[in-house]
């Protein structure tokens, strides 16, 4: 769907803007809302702009919250928004382990 990126109404602060949404990277609701008003209209752009969802848990905790905030600011349904992608490894893994070329049988 072609979406013309309109400018949103002016950013107005809200009482709970100081609330931390991304715990890994300590990104607040206010920072996320301000970035949306600055033109970051997708989960991926928000991640790349603010690092929310880029920490140790890779957004497992906060992605739904970020999506809800984005949907509300853009006045769309959360289901209308694309998710960020999940990538290997499923859990953080040491470089030496990833580097291992040896096959262990049994």
């Amino acid at each position: 769907m072609e979406i013309h990126r309109k400018h949103l109404s002016d950013f107005l602060s809200q009482p709970d803007d100081a609330m931390i949404i991304c715990r890994c990277e300590e990104v607040t609701k206010g920072e996320i809302r301000a970035a949306i008003h600055d033109g970051m209209f997708s989960i991926r752009e928000l991640r790349r702009f603010l690092r929310c969802g880029m920490g140790l848990c890779q957004g497992r905790t906060c992605e739904r919250l970020v999506k809800a905030i984005l949907a509300r600011e853009l006045n769309v349904r959360p289901s209308d928004l694309d998710d960020a992608s999940s990538r290997a490894p499923a859990r953080p893994i040491e470089m030496w382990m990833m580097a291992n070329e040896v096959f262990w049988h049994g």
Partner: protein, 377 residues
């Protein structure tokens, strides 16, 4: 006021849009993805590197490092994490050092200050190197920046200058009027018309340009990268190896970004942006071989991207004579990020019919000549 349609909202498309708007043009940027900068612009290693380049690319990349990169955070109104702490390209064997000496010789011929350093000096520059490192090439004016932020900073600044951005708008054909390329048609059937069209669409540019009879010989090549957990500041040089088995740097945030080549790149499936089974482990072996101290760092994420690898591995930055109205920037072959700001500037100048800040003869579309020549005997 000229009106330009830009195809592609990556680093180069956004930079083009920014400089066009700054020159007073009316600009619409069309992006096929739902997200700005979701191609190579947000999947690369962030190198702002002059060393190790094709000599043809030295003038524009050196122009960018002298005139654009140092002031880019101020110009765009946000920190793009530009860090100019040099590039070390490491070698362990005499064969490696021979490759590095050739790179230094080519750089010097192009006027770039670069030299070989021995084992001791390399370790002075970066104390965390493996004892096996025998020497390195050293370019002190190289560096890196955050490609995610550079791409979005140009987008944000362009938007503030009044540029219109449309996402989900996949351009499927170029349209001529009185033999000038002035309009595009999207997959949804929308038509966007202006006074000219600027295509900065990476590998996707190939298929699109063919609709106007322009054939740029490019191949898609899948490249993969990884990012580690954050670590206290260790070193801020851009790093690489003679055999390109790894490259990367530590970011301002503290995590390390690494990529590498494994040798099978042309034979992987680039139609899906999914990692192969070989790349991440190959890169880890490359990194640990030069930086054993990093072996316990945890990898948080891996990802893949596609290069628009041109036949001669340098880009097309041109107004092809065959298609008046059309400005082309593609085929950056994996060197596009460091060139993005200057490429955007040059493309904006071409699109407005002005004279570009630098000669662009080496990047012309007419350099591609098929084997058989007329009049051959």
């Amino acid at each position: 006021m000229a009106e330009i349609i830009v195809v592609g909202a990556g680093a180069i498309g956004n930079a083009s849009a920014y400089y066009l708007a700054k020159s007073g043009a009316k600009v619409t940027v069309l992006e096929k993805d739902s997200c700005i900068g979701n191609g190579g612009s947000s999947r690369n290693g962030g190198g702002v590197r002059q060393s190790g380049r094709n000599p043809a690319e030295l003038p524009p990349v050196m122009y960018g490092v002298r005139n654009i990169w140092p002031g880019l955070s101020d110009e765009l109104g946000m920190d793009i994490e530009y860090c100019q702490e040099g590039n070390l390209r490491l070698g362990k064997t005499e064969e490696h050092l021979k490759i590095l000496r050739e790179l230094v010789r080519d750089a010097e011929a192009g006027g770039l200050a670069m030299r070989m350093v021995d084992r001791a000096e390399a370790r002075e520059i970066c104390p965390f190197l493996s004892d096996e490192v025998a020497g390195a090439s050293w370019c002190p004016t190289d560096g890196h920046a955050n490609p995610l932020l550079v791409t979005l900073a140009f987008y944000r600044a362009a938007r503030r200058l009044g540029v219109d951005f449309v996402t989900g708008a996949e351009v499927v054909s170029l349209r001529k009027k009185r033999s000038r390329v002035v309009a595009v048609v999207t997959a949804c059937g929308s038509v966007y018309e202006g006074d000219g069209v600027l295509v900065a669409a990476g590998y996707g540019a190939g298929k699109l340009l063919r609709t106007a009879g322009i054939d740029v010989p490019m191949a898609p090549v899948l490249m993969e990268m990884l990012v580690t957990e954050e670590s206290p500041p260790m070193f801020f040089q851009m790093l690489g190896a003679a055999m390109s088995d790894f490259y990367g740097h530590q970011t301002k945030h503290g995590s390390f970004i690494f990529g590498g080549t494994h040798g099978f790149e042309p034979y992987t499936d680039s139609s899906r942006l999914t990692g192969t089974s070989i790349a991440a482990s190959n890169t880890c072996r490359g990194v640990i071989g030069y930086f054993p101290v990093l072996k316990d760092l945890k990898i948080l994420r891996t990802w893949a991207g596609v290069l628009d690898d041109c036949f001669d591995h340098i880009p097309v930055i041109d107004n092809p004579v065959e298609a008046p109205g059309l400005t082309v920037g593609c085929g950056f072959s994996g060197h596009g990020f460091g060139l993005a700001p200057v490429a955007g500037l040059l493309l904006s100048q071409l699109a407005l019919g002005g004279s570009p800040a630098l000669p662009l003869d080496r990047f012309k579309y007419d350099r591609f000549r098929a084997k058989a020549r007329s009049g051959n005997t």
